[in-house]
Amino acid sequence: MTTLDPLRLTARDAKRLLVDGEISAAELTKVFLDQIAAVEDKVKAFILVTADNAAKYSTKVDREMQAMRGPLAGLPIAVKDNLVTEGVTTTCASRMLHNYQPVYTATAVRQVWDGHVVMLGKTNLDEFAMGSSTEYSAYQVTANPWDLDTVPGGSSGGSAAAVAAGEALWALGSDTGGSVRQPASLCGVVGMKPTYGAVSRYGLVAFASSLDQIGPLTRSVYDCALLLQHITGRDPRDATSVELPEPVVLPSAERLDGLRIGVPSEYLDVGLEDGVRARFDETLARIEELGGRCVEVSLPHTEYALPAFYVIAPAEASANLARFDGVRYGYRCSDPVDLTDLYERTRSEGFGPEVKRRIMIGTYALSAGYYDAYYGRAQRVRSLVCRDFDHAFSQVDLIASPTSPTVAFTAGSRTSDPLAMYMSDVCTIPANLAGLPAISIPCGLSGGLPVGFQLIGPAFSENRVLAAAHALEGAIGFDTAPPFRGSRSSSGERDRGSADTTPRPEDTHP
């Protein structure tokens, strides 16, 4: 067997090795399980590692090679723990779902399972995907493999860290305000949020239904397209899902000739770190070298996008999270005296501080007397943000910005200041409000930490976004292997409470 470097191996190369018979699916899976065994103590990317199932299933893929073929067969994946998986505990990193055993599987996961990928486990996130650092997980704090004392971003921080640390070949995440792109940026991997509706949300535990989208986290743009190909499509179980007007194509572009890239001045005015600005400017220069043209555009309502988001997302969340009441599933408080006591204590004990904060904001914004001033206005501001993009895309093909204003920040530095945490997503939120496809690719380092470059396209322009990102990635030549520096001063383990709050592996599919 060839010696493989899990920190640099792409799905594309792994597939070629499998097809050529240079490696078996079982051997490939073992590469990642070994890496998990080697670094997971430090990184803590997974809430649950399904090692036995992964080993068993990969052997089955090898044995039944004729029946279990396909572009994804045998390629190991990590799945964010807010995607429900039948037979495998799904916690949303919340005490509320510490013991939840889904009785069905999310469509996006089902699609990759049907393609015979090997699931390695379920990854950590901010509780119910609410956060930008993965520190709001009820179970553990995930470390950034580039510097273990910094955060991986969030909320898909576990998926991003798992890919960066070579603990997975690729991963699935979800993006409501930047939760795939921002952690991808901070961890030096590729992350994409597709057009709203391109991927079924069935089985994605809902945070803000008009904004949520599932997306890939990968080591290359090609891999991102490959995974996206297999999760897109209309699903009768999600009425907001649609068929892409053209199927996702695997990118091969090396040039950007004739492509007009808009650079919104408003995105450069959000307190960018010097190093982020420098890498961004260098990347714009590369676009020009590749034949593209960078022009300034204006998205004048950008500064109102974050405020609108922090009304709309909590409002939708407060409605979506009403279902957690201790009756049908999940945590239930002990000895409730009556129904109200059951609801209130279950929710107060089951939800963490950030989730409660958002439920409170959302409930307030929807309550009598405030609805028009907050929710009604936010929906109108959302229209203005959409209009800005429409106008810009009449002048340019794609829009470029930094993904995050900063590189990975030190663990603990923003948890006491909700607004500082919210600012992490200032460049990613507008694409969610407008439902647009957007990708983050690594474009270099600042102080030894990765910087992300974001490309946003018009609705359903996935192929344009992927082609441009692919050409740019080739010119940048980013090395995805992180140094695992830093000491991880405090243990990332949270008090898991009594034994029954620890999720347990279940040995079923896949």
Partner: protein, 93 residues
Amino acid sequence: MISEDDVLHVARLARLRVTSEERATMAGELARILAHVGKMSEIDVTGVRPTAHVLDVVNVTREDKRRPGLTRDEALRNAPAVSDDCFRVPRMG
């Protein structure tokens, strides 16, 4: 401004119980967040239609045909308390 009474009222609507200590902290945090989102009042939105959803798909329906759903066993599998094949809850207040 958000008073502690406001926090109590909203918490009751959201079926959350807050301690008196949390009440004070939350009042401060919510006030700061609402002040930030209040920035939206700077712009004129007269005549702008609200966007609830970016896709222009409406009335998506499926075929009116029977199809299997969850079995009773599956539906109850995660229930914290069950009796007589039903979800069990305490008495109303």
